[in-house]
Subunit: 125 residues, 2 copies
């Protein structure tokens, strides 16, 4: 069964080498041979990863026969970001609650110290 | 080879049913049997998907023997969002450039119309 576009994107991103390739391409378009160098990978191996990224729409390839530069497709990332949107609210609420809890803890601690200090002042030595 | 945490997350997200389960859990924690109903899926099938989501850290399960409610783990989504951060800049630049290009096109079109109008006024009928 062929995957839907979003599943294809997530599947393509589920590989550290492919994410490293994307990180390199974020700096600018480049050829397969240039990409292969820092990864110490064979050209066919890099080509295979690029094919997966291209099928997922995360990159596009130039059509020049000899030098088919790979470049990042920013709109594809936007799609993943849009999917994340509904969960963004959840973690913002989560961190707000955590923050409120820590503030309550700090206030409690402060009050405790204050009470101890008052008590000390009141108690004759 | 075991996947790194981020790859495990992306692999878990590369399935429309698992994403639908997450969308349901975003509304609040629920049991496996409650989850199974709208999906018309068997309990073992739902349990299998929950296991994948749990291994990826995207959800946690309650420890109550009979009723092990599944709930979303907001911080796991934050991790995916942090990874997206470096690409966010790319698509913002991309849309800014697109916007600037469209504005230039519109300005050109407007100037052209203006020149045609001026020419018409100058040309005696």
């Amino acid at each position: 069964m062929p995957l839907d576009p979003l599943s294809t994107k997530f599947a393509a991103l589920a590989d550290p080498t492919r994410r490293a390739i994307l990180a390199r391409l974020a700096l600018g378009e480049t050829s397969v041979s240039e990409l292969a160098q820092p990864f110490a990978m064979s050209l066919p191996a890099v080509s295979k990863h690029l094919k997966v990224l291209e099928n997922a729409g995360l990159i596009t390839r130039g059509r020049e026969a000899q030098w088919r530069p790979a470049r990042i497709e920013p709109e594809a990332f936007k799609e993943v970001d849009s999917w994340l949107d509904r969960y963004r609210q959840l973690w913002e609420e989560h961190f707000d609650r955590l923050d409120a809890y820590l503030k309550r803890l700090q206030a409690k601690e402060k009050n405790k110290k204050k009470r101890v200090a008052v008590k000390r002042r009141r108690t004759p030595r």
